[in-house]
Amino acid sequence: MSRGALSGCLLLAGLLVMPGAMAASRYYDIEPVEVAADTYVVFGAQENFNDANHGAIANTGFIVTDEGVVVIDTGPSRLYGQALREAIGRITEQPVVQVYISHAHPDHFLGNNAFDDVPIAALPGTIDAVRAVGADLAGNLYNLVGAAMRGTSAVVPDQTVEAGTTATFGDHRLQLLAASGHTAADLMIMDTTTGVLFAGDIAFHDRAPTTPNADIDAWRAVLAQTREREFAVLVPGHGPSTPDDAPLSQTGDYLAWLVDRFTQDANDGMSAAEVMFQPLPERWARLAVQPGEYRRSVSHLYPAIEQSALPERTE
Protein backbone atom coordinates (compact mmCIF):
# COMPACT_ATOMS: atom_id res chain seq x y z
CA MET A 1 0.00 0.00 0.00
CA SER A 2 1.40 3.38 -0.94
CA ARG A 3 1.96 6.03 1.68
CA GLY A 4 -0.69 8.18 0.00
CA ALA A 5 -3.28 5.44 0.23
CA LEU A 6 -2.36 4.77 3.86
CA SER A 7 -2.76 8.39 4.90
CA GLY A 8 -5.99 8.45 2.94
CA CYS A 9 -7.20 5.52 5.04
CA LEU A 10 -6.12 7.25 8.25
CA LEU A 11 -7.90 10.40 7.16
CA LEU A 12 -11.01 8.36 6.39
CA ALA A 13 -10.79 6.62 9.76
CA GLY A 14 -10.48 10.00 11.41
CA LEU A 15 -13.58 11.22 9.60
CA LEU A 16 -15.50 8.15 10.66
CA VAL A 17 -14.55 8.54 14.32
CA MET A 18 -14.94 12.30 14.65
CA PRO A 19 -18.62 12.64 13.74
CA GLY A 20 -19.42 9.85 16.18
CA ALA A 21 -17.65 11.63 19.02
CA MET A 22 -19.36 14.89 18.18
CA ALA A 23 -22.71 13.20 17.82
CA ALA A 24 -22.40 11.52 21.22
CA SER A 25 -22.07 14.81 23.04
CA ARG A 26 -24.82 16.32 20.89
CA TYR A 27 -27.34 13.65 21.86
CA TYR A 28 -26.40 12.88 25.45
CA ASP A 29 -25.72 15.35 28.24
CA ILE A 30 -23.90 13.04 30.65
CA GLU A 31 -23.45 14.55 34.10
CA PRO A 32 -22.17 11.99 36.61
CA VAL A 33 -23.30 12.66 40.20
CA GLU A 34 -21.01 11.53 43.05
CA VAL A 35 -23.30 9.55 45.37
CA ALA A 36 -20.49 8.15 47.60
CA ALA A 37 -16.69 8.09 47.65
CA ASP A 38 -15.40 7.08 44.16
CA THR A 39 -18.96 6.28 43.13
CA TYR A 40 -20.89 8.07 40.38
CA VAL A 41 -24.37 7.74 38.91
CA VAL A 42 -25.69 9.16 35.64
CA PHE A 43 -29.41 9.54 36.26
CA GLY A 44 -31.73 8.78 33.36
CA ALA A 45 -34.81 10.77 32.41
CA GLN A 46 -37.92 9.67 34.30
CA GLU A 47 -39.69 9.16 30.97
CA ASN A 48 -40.55 6.56 28.40
CA PHE A 49 -38.25 6.15 25.38
CA ASN A 50 -38.59 9.10 23.02
CA ASP A 51 -36.60 10.98 20.42
CA ALA A 52 -35.86 13.81 22.89
CA ASN A 53 -34.21 11.68 25.60
CA HIS A 54 -32.60 9.45 22.93
CA GLY A 55 -33.32 6.41 25.07
CA ALA A 56 -31.38 7.60 28.14
CA ILE A 57 -34.03 6.68 30.70
CA ALA A 58 -32.12 4.27 32.97
CA ASN A 59 -29.45 5.04 35.55
CA THR A 60 -25.88 4.01 34.77
CA GLY A 61 -23.02 4.10 37.25
CA PHE A 62 -19.32 3.68 37.72
CA ILE A 63 -16.80 3.17 40.52
CA VAL A 64 -13.34 4.68 40.25
CA THR A 65 -10.70 2.44 41.86
CA ASP A 66 -6.89 2.34 41.92
CA GLU A 67 -7.09 -0.61 39.57
CA GLY A 68 -9.36 0.97 37.00
CA VAL A 69 -12.97 1.95 36.56
CA VAL A 70 -15.90 -0.46 36.96
CA VAL A 71 -18.97 0.46 34.88
CA ILE A 72 -22.45 -0.72 35.85
CA ASP A 73 -24.79 -0.71 32.83
CA THR A 74 -23.96 0.98 29.55
CA GLY A 75 -27.18 2.77 28.57
CA PRO A 76 -29.36 2.55 25.45
CA SER A 77 -26.96 3.07 22.52
CA ARG A 78 -23.41 3.09 21.20
CA LEU A 79 -23.38 6.91 21.31
CA TYR A 80 -24.56 6.90 24.94
CA GLY A 81 -21.79 4.43 25.81
CA GLN A 82 -19.23 6.66 24.09
CA ALA A 83 -20.50 9.75 25.93
CA LEU A 84 -20.39 7.86 29.23
CA ARG A 85 -16.81 6.83 28.55
CA GLU A 86 -15.87 10.42 27.71
CA ALA A 87 -17.49 11.61 30.94
CA ILE A 88 -15.51 9.02 32.92
CA GLY A 89 -12.35 10.30 31.20
CA ARG A 90 -13.06 13.81 32.47
CA ILE A 91 -13.18 12.52 36.08
CA THR A 92 -10.27 10.08 36.18
CA GLU A 93 -7.26 8.98 34.17
CA GLN A 94 -7.96 5.37 35.21
CA PRO A 95 -9.04 3.18 32.30
CA VAL A 96 -12.32 1.30 32.27
CA VAL A 97 -11.38 -2.29 33.22
CA GLN A 98 -14.73 -3.99 33.82
CA VAL A 99 -18.37 -3.66 32.79
CA TYR A 100 -21.30 -5.31 34.58
CA ILE A 101 -24.74 -5.51 32.97
CA SER A 102 -27.62 -5.67 35.46
CA HIS A 103 -30.15 -7.28 33.12
CA ALA A 104 -31.16 -7.72 29.49
CA HIS A 105 -33.34 -4.65 28.93
CA PRO A 106 -32.41 -2.30 26.09
CA ASP A 107 -32.00 0.85 28.21
CA HIS A 108 -29.31 -0.93 30.26
CA PHE A 109 -27.07 -2.84 27.85
CA LEU A 110 -27.21 -1.39 24.33
CA GLY A 111 -24.26 0.91 25.09
CA ASN A 112 -22.02 -2.18 25.12
CA ASN A 113 -20.71 -1.27 21.64
CA ALA A 114 -18.59 1.46 23.28
CA PHE A 115 -17.02 -1.02 25.72
CA ASP A 116 -16.27 -3.97 23.46
CA ASP A 117 -12.53 -3.74 24.32
CA VAL A 118 -13.33 -4.40 28.01
CA PRO A 119 -14.68 -7.55 29.72
CA ILE A 120 -18.48 -7.27 29.88
CA ALA A 121 -19.92 -9.51 32.58
CA ALA A 122 -23.52 -10.57 33.27
CA LEU A 123 -25.52 -13.39 34.82
CA PRO A 124 -26.02 -16.46 32.57
CA GLY A 125 -29.73 -15.68 32.17
CA THR A 126 -28.88 -12.16 30.99
CA ILE A 127 -26.39 -13.49 28.45
CA ASP A 128 -28.98 -15.95 27.14
CA ALA A 129 -31.61 -13.22 26.83
CA VAL A 130 -29.28 -10.78 25.02
CA ARG A 131 -28.37 -13.56 22.62
CA ALA A 132 -32.02 -14.53 22.05
CA VAL A 133 -33.79 -11.17 21.80
CA GLY A 134 -31.06 -8.51 21.87
CA ALA A 135 -31.34 -7.76 18.15
CA ASP A 136 -35.14 -7.40 18.39
CA LEU A 137 -34.79 -5.08 21.39
CA ALA A 138 -32.26 -2.96 19.50
CA GLY A 139 -34.53 -2.85 16.44
CA ASN A 140 -37.47 -1.74 18.54
CA LEU A 141 -35.39 1.02 20.14
CA TYR A 142 -34.33 2.27 16.69
CA ASN A 143 -38.05 2.69 15.95
CA LEU A 144 -38.77 4.50 19.21
CA VAL A 145 -35.67 6.70 19.49
CA GLY A 146 -34.35 7.22 15.98
CA ALA A 147 -30.99 8.61 14.88
CA ALA A 148 -29.23 8.48 18.27
CA MET A 149 -29.27 4.69 17.93
CA ARG A 150 -27.02 4.60 14.88
CA GLY A 151 -24.19 2.11 15.06
CA THR A 152 -25.85 0.25 17.92
CA SER A 153 -26.05 -3.53 17.96
CA ALA A 154 -26.69 -6.05 20.73
CA VAL A 155 -23.21 -6.94 22.04
CA VAL A 156 -23.49 -10.18 24.02
CA PRO A 157 -21.62 -10.00 27.37
CA ASP A 158 -18.46 -12.14 27.13
CA GLN A 159 -17.97 -12.95 30.81
CA THR A 160 -20.27 -14.91 33.13
CA VAL A 161 -20.98 -13.66 36.65
CA GLU A 162 -21.12 -16.47 39.17
CA ALA A 163 -23.83 -15.78 41.71
CA GLY A 164 -22.67 -14.86 45.19
CA THR A 165 -19.04 -14.26 44.28
CA THR A 166 -16.99 -11.22 45.19
CA ALA A 167 -14.81 -9.21 42.83
CA THR A 168 -12.10 -6.88 44.06
CA PHE A 169 -10.88 -3.76 42.24
CA GLY A 170 -8.31 -1.76 44.20
CA ASP A 171 -9.79 -1.37 47.66
CA HIS A 172 -13.39 -1.84 46.45
CA ARG A 173 -14.91 -5.22 47.21
CA LEU A 174 -18.01 -5.87 45.10
CA GLN A 175 -20.53 -8.56 46.07
CA LEU A 176 -22.25 -9.89 42.95
CA LEU A 177 -25.82 -10.74 43.96
CA ALA A 178 -27.93 -12.86 41.63
CA ALA A 179 -31.66 -12.16 41.79
CA SER A 180 -34.69 -12.47 39.52
CA GLY A 181 -38.21 -11.15 39.29
CA HIS A 182 -37.93 -8.01 37.22
CA THR A 183 -36.48 -10.33 34.57
CA ALA A 184 -35.26 -13.92 34.66
CA ALA A 185 -31.82 -12.68 35.75
CA ASP A 186 -31.21 -9.47 37.70
CA LEU A 187 -27.73 -8.64 38.95
CA MET A 188 -27.38 -6.42 42.02
CA ILE A 189 -23.95 -5.16 43.06
CA MET A 190 -23.09 -4.31 46.65
CA ASP A 191 -19.89 -2.33 47.13
CA THR A 192 -18.99 -3.36 50.69
CA THR A 193 -16.26 -0.70 50.79
CA THR A 194 -18.65 2.25 50.38
CA GLY A 195 -21.96 0.60 51.28
CA VAL A 196 -23.47 1.49 47.90
CA LEU A 197 -26.01 -1.01 46.58
CA PHE A 198 -26.61 -0.89 42.85
CA ALA A 199 -30.03 -2.56 42.75
CA GLY A 200 -30.65 -2.39 39.00
CA ASP A 201 -34.32 -2.60 38.02
CA ILE A 202 -35.20 -4.61 41.10
CA ALA A 203 -35.77 -1.10 42.47
CA PHE A 204 -37.65 1.75 40.77
CA HIS A 205 -38.03 5.10 42.50
CA ASP A 206 -40.84 7.58 41.75
CA ARG A 207 -41.20 5.89 38.37
CA ALA A 208 -43.68 3.09 37.67
CA PRO A 209 -41.93 -0.31 37.49
CA THR A 210 -41.92 -2.07 34.11
CA THR A 211 -43.19 -5.64 33.89
CA PRO A 212 -42.68 -7.12 30.38
CA ASN A 213 -40.59 -10.04 31.71
CA ALA A 214 -41.61 -9.92 35.35
CA ASP A 215 -42.29 -12.74 37.79
CA ILE A 216 -44.10 -10.71 40.43
CA ASP A 217 -43.86 -13.25 43.27
CA ALA A 218 -40.11 -13.71 42.77
CA TRP A 219 -39.61 -9.96 42.48
CA ARG A 220 -41.47 -9.24 45.71
CA ALA A 221 -39.47 -11.93 47.52
CA VAL A 222 -36.19 -10.34 46.38
CA LEU A 223 -37.42 -6.89 47.47
CA ALA A 224 -38.27 -8.23 50.93
CA GLN A 225 -34.83 -9.87 51.25
CA THR A 226 -33.04 -6.77 50.03
CA ARG A 227 -34.78 -4.59 52.61
CA GLU A 228 -33.01 -6.69 55.27
CA ARG A 229 -29.59 -5.70 53.90
CA GLU A 230 -27.39 -3.01 55.39
CA PHE A 231 -26.45 -0.31 52.90
CA ALA A 232 -25.50 3.38 52.97
CA VAL A 233 -26.84 4.36 49.54
CA LEU A 234 -29.30 2.57 47.30
CA VAL A 235 -29.04 3.24 43.55
CA PRO A 236 -32.24 2.14 41.79
CA GLY A 237 -32.35 1.33 38.07
CA HIS A 238 -34.63 4.33 37.54
CA GLY A 239 -35.08 7.40 39.74
CA PRO A 240 -33.09 9.14 42.48
CA SER A 241 -30.76 7.26 44.82
CA THR A 242 -31.56 7.26 48.54
CA PRO A 243 -29.89 6.60 51.89
CA ASP A 244 -32.91 4.47 52.89
CA ASP A 245 -34.99 1.65 51.42
CA ALA A 246 -37.73 3.89 49.96
CA PRO A 247 -37.28 2.61 46.37
CA LEU A 248 -37.53 -1.01 47.60
CA SER A 249 -40.69 -0.44 49.62
CA GLN A 250 -42.27 1.71 46.91
CA THR A 251 -41.60 -0.91 44.23
CA GLY A 252 -42.88 -3.71 46.49
CA ASP A 253 -46.04 -1.81 47.42
CA TYR A 254 -46.78 -1.00 43.78
CA LEU A 255 -46.38 -4.61 42.64
CA ALA A 256 -48.59 -5.84 45.48
CA TRP A 257 -51.23 -3.27 44.58
CA LEU A 258 -51.01 -4.21 40.88
CA VAL A 259 -51.65 -7.91 41.52
CA ASP A 260 -54.47 -7.18 44.00
CA ARG A 261 -56.16 -4.82 41.58
CA PHE A 262 -55.91 -7.23 38.62
CA THR A 263 -57.16 -10.15 40.72
CA GLN A 264 -60.14 -8.16 41.95
CA ASP A 265 -60.95 -6.87 38.45
CA ALA A 266 -60.72 -10.38 36.98
CA ASN A 267 -63.09 -11.65 39.66
CA ASP A 268 -65.48 -8.81 38.76
CA GLY A 269 -65.49 -9.90 35.10
CA MET A 270 -63.79 -6.80 33.69
CA SER A 271 -62.29 -6.85 30.22
CA ALA A 272 -58.60 -5.97 29.79
CA ALA A 273 -59.38 -2.64 28.09
CA GLU A 274 -61.73 -1.70 30.94
CA VAL A 275 -58.98 -2.49 33.45
CA MET A 276 -56.51 -0.38 31.45
CA PHE A 277 -58.60 2.75 31.53
CA GLN A 278 -59.60 2.82 35.18
CA PRO A 279 -58.36 5.83 37.14
CA LEU A 280 -55.34 5.11 39.33
CA PRO A 281 -55.15 5.92 43.04
CA GLU A 282 -53.25 9.15 43.73
CA ARG A 283 -50.21 7.38 45.17
CA TRP A 284 -49.62 5.47 41.94
CA ALA A 285 -50.91 8.04 39.46
CA ARG A 286 -48.18 10.50 40.43
CA LEU A 287 -45.29 8.15 39.59
CA ALA A 288 -43.43 9.07 36.40
CA VAL A 289 -44.59 7.43 33.13
CA GLN A 290 -48.11 6.83 34.40
CA PRO A 291 -50.67 5.82 33.33
CA GLY A 292 -48.71 4.42 30.37
CA GLU A 293 -46.65 1.95 32.39
CA TYR A 294 -49.74 0.71 34.25
CA ARG A 295 -51.45 0.09 30.90
CA ARG A 296 -48.44 -1.86 29.64
CA SER A 297 -48.64 -3.97 32.79
CA VAL A 298 -52.27 -4.81 31.97
CA SER A 299 -51.01 -6.32 28.69
CA HIS A 300 -48.24 -8.22 30.48
CA LEU A 301 -50.04 -9.51 33.56
CA TYR A 302 -53.82 -9.38 33.16
CA PRO A 303 -54.31 -12.24 30.62
CA ALA A 304 -53.06 -14.93 33.04
CA ILE A 305 -54.93 -13.46 36.02
CA GLU A 306 -58.08 -13.06 33.92
CA GLN A 307 -57.88 -16.69 32.84
CA SER A 308 -57.46 -17.91 36.41
CA ALA A 309 -60.78 -16.22 37.26
CA LEU A 310 -62.58 -18.39 34.68
CA PRO A 311 -63.60 -21.95 35.56
CA GLU A 312 -61.11 -24.59 34.37
CA ARG A 313 -63.33 -25.96 31.66
CA THR A 314 -67.03 -25.42 31.17
CA GLU A 315 -69.06 -28.45 30.12
Binding site: A272, A273, L310, T314
Partner: protein, 255 residues
Protein backbone atom coordinates in the same frame (compact mmCIF):
# COMPACT_ATOMS: atom_id res chain seq x y z
CA UNK B 1 -81.84 38.94 2.76
CA UNK B 2 -78.53 39.93 1.24
CA UNK B 3 -76.02 37.47 -0.17
CA UNK B 4 -73.81 37.47 2.91
CA UNK B 5 -76.60 36.61 5.33
CA UNK B 6 -77.90 33.98 2.88
CA UNK B 7 -74.46 32.45 2.84
CA UNK B 8 -74.28 32.57 6.64
CA UNK B 9 -77.70 30.95 6.96
CA UNK B 10 -76.63 28.21 4.57
CA UNK B 11 -73.43 27.65 6.56
CA UNK B 12 -75.38 27.41 9.81
CA UNK B 13 -77.74 24.93 8.19
CA UNK B 14 -74.78 22.84 7.08
CA UNK B 15 -73.25 22.98 10.57
CA UNK B 16 -76.54 21.94 12.15
CA UNK B 17 -76.82 18.78 10.06
CA UNK B 18 -75.45 15.54 11.51
CA UNK B 19 -71.89 15.05 10.42
CA UNK B 20 -71.99 13.01 7.24
CA UNK B 21 -68.90 10.84 7.07
CA UNK B 22 -67.14 12.32 4.09
CA UNK B 23 -63.53 11.28 3.69
CA UNK B 24 -62.37 14.79 4.52
CA UNK B 25 -63.98 15.02 7.97
CA UNK B 26 -62.69 11.74 9.42
CA UNK B 27 -61.82 12.74 13.00
CA UNK B 28 -58.99 10.19 12.89
CA UNK B 29 -57.65 11.69 9.64
CA UNK B 30 -56.90 8.29 8.11
CA UNK B 31 -55.79 8.08 4.49
CA UNK B 32 -57.68 4.81 4.22
CA UNK B 33 -61.10 6.04 5.34
CA UNK B 34 -62.42 6.87 1.85
CA UNK B 35 -61.71 3.29 0.79
CA UNK B 36 -63.25 1.89 3.99
CA UNK B 37 -66.46 3.82 3.33
CA UNK B 38 -66.70 2.50 -0.21
CA UNK B 39 -65.80 -1.04 0.72
CA UNK B 40 -67.82 -1.63 3.88
CA UNK B 41 -70.66 0.93 3.76
CA UNK B 42 -71.65 1.30 0.11
CA UNK B 43 -74.80 3.41 -0.29
CA UNK B 44 -75.31 3.53 3.51
CA UNK B 45 -75.71 6.60 5.69
CA UNK B 46 -72.62 6.89 7.88
CA UNK B 47 -72.09 9.46 10.66
CA UNK B 48 -69.30 9.99 13.14
CA UNK B 49 -70.82 9.78 16.59
CA UNK B 50 -69.13 10.41 19.96
CA UNK B 51 -71.63 8.09 21.61
CA UNK B 52 -69.79 5.16 20.02
CA UNK B 53 -66.87 4.62 22.35
CA UNK B 54 -63.79 2.59 21.45
CA UNK B 55 -61.32 2.13 24.27
CA UNK B 56 -57.87 0.81 23.33
CA UNK B 57 -54.29 1.71 24.34
CA UNK B 58 -52.55 4.35 22.19
CA UNK B 59 -49.63 1.91 21.77
CA UNK B 60 -50.00 -1.83 21.20
CA UNK B 61 -47.69 -3.36 23.79
CA UNK B 62 -48.54 -6.82 22.44
CA UNK B 63 -49.18 -6.76 18.67
CA UNK B 64 -50.63 -10.28 18.91
CA UNK B 65 -53.22 -9.35 21.52
CA UNK B 66 -54.19 -5.71 21.97
CA UNK B 67 -57.19 -5.15 24.22
CA UNK B 68 -60.18 -3.19 22.98
CA UNK B 69 -63.54 -2.40 24.57
CA UNK B 70 -66.39 -1.11 22.43
CA UNK B 71 -69.56 0.35 23.89
CA UNK B 72 -72.37 2.81 23.15
CA UNK B 73 -73.20 5.61 25.55
CA UNK B 74 -76.80 6.72 25.05
CA UNK B 75 -77.23 5.28 21.55
CA UNK B 76 -80.39 3.10 21.35
CA UNK B 77 -81.57 0.40 18.94
CA UNK B 78 -78.15 -0.83 17.90
CA UNK B 79 -78.60 -3.98 15.80
CA UNK B 80 -75.08 -4.61 14.62
CA UNK B 81 -71.56 -3.65 15.66
CA UNK B 82 -68.80 -3.87 13.04
CA UNK B 83 -65.23 -3.47 14.32
CA UNK B 84 -62.72 -2.44 11.64
CA UNK B 85 -59.00 -1.61 11.43
CA UNK B 86 -58.14 0.78 8.55
CA UNK B 87 -54.48 -0.13 8.21
CA UNK B 88 -54.59 -3.88 8.35
CA UNK B 89 -54.22 -6.56 5.70
CA UNK B 90 -57.65 -7.72 6.89
CA UNK B 91 -59.86 -4.73 7.75
CA UNK B 92 -62.84 -6.47 9.43
CA UNK B 93 -61.95 -7.51 12.97
CA UNK B 94 -65.31 -8.66 14.29
CA UNK B 95 -69.03 -8.44 13.53
CA UNK B 96 -71.35 -8.43 16.54
CA UNK B 97 -75.15 -8.74 16.71
CA UNK B 98 -76.32 -7.82 20.25
CA UNK B 99 -79.78 -9.38 19.91
CA UNK B 100 -80.66 -9.31 23.62
CA UNK B 101 -77.52 -7.63 24.79
CA UNK B 102 -75.99 -4.19 25.13
CA UNK B 103 -73.97 -2.94 22.14
CA UNK B 104 -70.76 -3.57 24.05
CA UNK B 105 -67.95 -6.07 23.58
CA UNK B 106 -64.45 -6.49 24.94
CA UNK B 107 -61.75 -8.67 23.33
CA UNK B 108 -58.15 -8.64 22.02
CA UNK B 109 -57.03 -8.21 18.40
CA UNK B 110 -53.85 -8.44 16.32
CA UNK B 111 -52.22 -5.23 15.14
CA UNK B 112 -50.17 -5.26 11.94
CA UNK B 113 -49.14 -1.58 12.01
CA UNK B 114 -50.34 1.74 13.43
CA UNK B 115 -54.04 1.91 12.61
CA UNK B 116 -57.37 3.40 13.55
CA UNK B 117 -59.55 0.83 15.30
CA UNK B 118 -63.19 1.72 14.72
CA UNK B 119 -66.60 0.51 15.77
CA UNK B 120 -69.52 1.12 13.40
CA UNK B 121 -72.91 0.63 15.05
CA UNK B 122 -75.96 0.22 12.81
CA UNK B 123 -79.17 1.46 14.40
CA UNK B 124 -82.67 0.30 13.45
CA UNK B 125 -83.06 3.19 10.95
CA UNK B 126 -80.14 1.80 8.95
CA UNK B 127 -77.64 4.53 9.90
CA UNK B 128 -74.08 3.54 10.80
CA UNK B 129 -72.67 5.44 13.79
CA UNK B 130 -68.86 5.39 13.82
CA UNK B 131 -66.35 6.00 16.61
CA UNK B 132 -62.72 5.02 16.99
CA UNK B 133 -59.17 5.68 18.17
CA UNK B 134 -55.65 5.32 16.78
CA UNK B 135 -53.46 2.50 18.03
CA UNK B 136 -49.73 2.86 17.35
CA UNK B 137 -47.69 -0.32 17.14
CA UNK B 138 -44.39 -1.94 16.41
CA UNK B 139 -46.73 -4.29 14.59
CA UNK B 140 -46.50 -7.55 12.71
CA UNK B 141 -49.36 -9.18 14.61
CA UNK B 142 -51.33 -10.31 11.56
CA UNK B 143 -48.44 -11.94 9.72
CA UNK B 144 -47.02 -13.81 12.72
CA UNK B 145 -47.86 -17.48 13.24
CA UNK B 146 -49.99 -18.31 16.26
CA UNK B 147 -48.19 -19.65 19.31
CA UNK B 148 -50.46 -22.69 19.01
CA UNK B 149 -49.32 -23.48 15.46
CA UNK B 150 -45.82 -24.20 16.79
CA UNK B 151 -47.03 -26.75 19.33
CA UNK B 152 -49.21 -29.82 18.97
CA UNK B 153 -50.74 -29.21 22.42
CA UNK B 154 -53.63 -27.07 21.24
CA UNK B 155 -55.03 -29.84 19.05
CA UNK B 156 -56.21 -31.84 22.04
CA UNK B 157 -57.77 -28.73 23.59
CA UNK B 158 -59.19 -27.11 20.42
CA UNK B 159 -62.60 -25.61 21.10
CA UNK B 160 -62.44 -25.89 24.87
CA UNK B 161 -64.51 -23.13 26.44
CA UNK B 162 -63.96 -21.51 29.83
CA UNK B 163 -66.79 -19.17 30.74
CA UNK B 164 -68.39 -17.34 33.63
CA UNK B 165 -71.38 -15.08 34.25
CA UNK B 166 -71.54 -12.11 36.60
CA UNK B 167 -74.82 -10.50 37.72
CA UNK B 168 -74.84 -6.84 36.73
CA UNK B 169 -78.01 -5.34 38.14
CA UNK B 170 -81.55 -6.39 37.31
CA UNK B 171 -81.79 -9.00 34.50
CA UNK B 172 -78.40 -8.08 33.17
CA UNK B 173 -75.21 -10.15 33.16
CA UNK B 174 -71.59 -9.86 32.10
CA UNK B 175 -70.59 -12.98 30.18
CA UNK B 176 -66.93 -13.68 29.68
CA UNK B 177 -65.66 -16.74 27.84
CA UNK B 178 -62.38 -17.95 26.41
CA UNK B 179 -62.10 -20.43 23.54
CA UNK B 180 -58.93 -22.41 22.86
CA UNK B 181 -58.22 -21.72 19.18
CA UNK B 182 -55.08 -20.69 17.24
CA UNK B 183 -56.95 -18.04 15.18
CA UNK B 184 -54.37 -18.19 12.38
CA UNK B 185 -54.83 -15.38 9.87
CA UNK B 186 -53.50 -17.26 6.81
CA UNK B 187 -50.92 -14.49 6.34
CA UNK B 188 -48.03 -16.35 7.98
CA UNK B 189 -46.06 -18.41 5.44
CA UNK B 190 -47.24 -22.02 5.23
CA UNK B 191 -50.02 -21.72 7.82
CA UNK B 192 -53.54 -21.56 6.35
CA UNK B 193 -56.27 -19.34 7.79
CA UNK B 194 -57.89 -21.18 10.70
CA UNK B 195 -60.20 -19.15 12.88
CA UNK B 196 -63.52 -19.13 14.70
CA UNK B 197 -66.19 -18.01 12.25
CA UNK B 198 -69.29 -17.72 14.40
CA UNK B 199 -70.42 -17.88 18.02
CA UNK B 200 -74.02 -17.84 19.28
CA UNK B 201 -75.04 -17.23 22.88
CA UNK B 202 -78.54 -18.47 23.77
CA UNK B 203 -80.73 -18.86 26.84
CA UNK B 204 -82.17 -22.11 28.23
CA UNK B 205 -85.10 -21.92 25.78
CA UNK B 206 -82.81 -21.67 22.80
CA UNK B 207 -83.50 -17.99 22.16
CA UNK B 208 -80.53 -16.14 20.73
CA UNK B 209 -79.10 -13.53 23.10
CA UNK B 210 -76.09 -12.51 21.04
CA UNK B 211 -74.28 -13.59 17.90
CA UNK B 212 -70.76 -12.77 16.87
CA UNK B 213 -68.68 -13.41 13.79
CA UNK B 214 -64.98 -13.01 14.50
CA UNK B 215 -62.59 -12.30 11.64
CA UNK B 216 -58.95 -13.37 11.37
CA UNK B 217 -57.52 -10.43 13.38
CA UNK B 218 -59.17 -11.54 16.65
CA UNK B 219 -56.40 -12.71 19.00
CA UNK B 220 -55.43 -16.35 19.60
CA UNK B 221 -57.40 -18.17 22.34
CA UNK B 222 -59.87 -15.29 22.29
CA UNK B 223 -61.58 -13.96 25.40
CA UNK B 224 -64.89 -12.16 24.80
CA UNK B 225 -66.76 -10.01 27.33
CA UNK B 226 -70.45 -9.39 26.52
CA UNK B 227 -73.23 -7.64 28.44
CA UNK B 228 -76.40 -9.73 28.18
CA UNK B 229 -79.91 -8.50 28.93
CA UNK B 230 -80.73 -11.81 30.52
CA UNK B 231 -80.51 -13.53 33.89
CA UNK B 232 -79.52 -17.17 34.33
CA UNK B 233 -77.47 -19.84 32.58
CA UNK B 234 -76.54 -19.54 28.91
CA UNK B 235 -75.17 -21.75 26.17
CA UNK B 236 -72.22 -20.75 23.99
CA UNK B 237 -71.98 -22.54 20.64
CA UNK B 238 -69.62 -21.90 17.77
CA UNK B 239 -67.81 -23.17 14.72
CA UNK B 240 -64.58 -22.40 12.93
CA UNK B 241 -63.83 -22.07 9.21
CA UNK B 242 -62.82 -25.76 9.06
CA UNK B 243 -66.19 -26.90 10.40
CA UNK B 244 -65.04 -27.77 13.93
CA UNK B 245 -67.82 -27.04 16.39
CA UNK B 246 -67.74 -26.27 20.09
CA UNK B 247 -70.35 -25.66 22.73
CA UNK B 248 -70.53 -25.07 26.47
CA UNK B 249 -73.16 -24.35 29.07
CA UNK B 250 -72.23 -21.48 31.38
CA UNK B 251 -74.04 -21.78 34.72
CA UNK B 252 -75.80 -18.84 36.33
CA UNK B 253 -73.65 -16.79 38.67
CA UNK B 254 -73.34 -18.17 42.21
CA UNK B 255 -74.72 -15.71 44.82
Amino acid sequence: MNTISKTLALMLLVLAMPAAAAASDDPLDSSQWRYMLRQYFPDAKVVFDDRVRVVAPDYAEDSLATPVQVRAEGLEDVERVLVLADHSPINPVLDYYPVRAAPAIGFHFKVQQATPIRAAMRTADGTWHVGGVWVDAEGGGCTAPSVGSASPLWESRLGEVEGRLWARGDRSQRLKFRVVHPMDTGLAAGIPAFFIRSVTVSDADGRTLARLEPDEPVAENPVFALDLKHAGAVTVEGRDNNGNVFSARIPAPAS
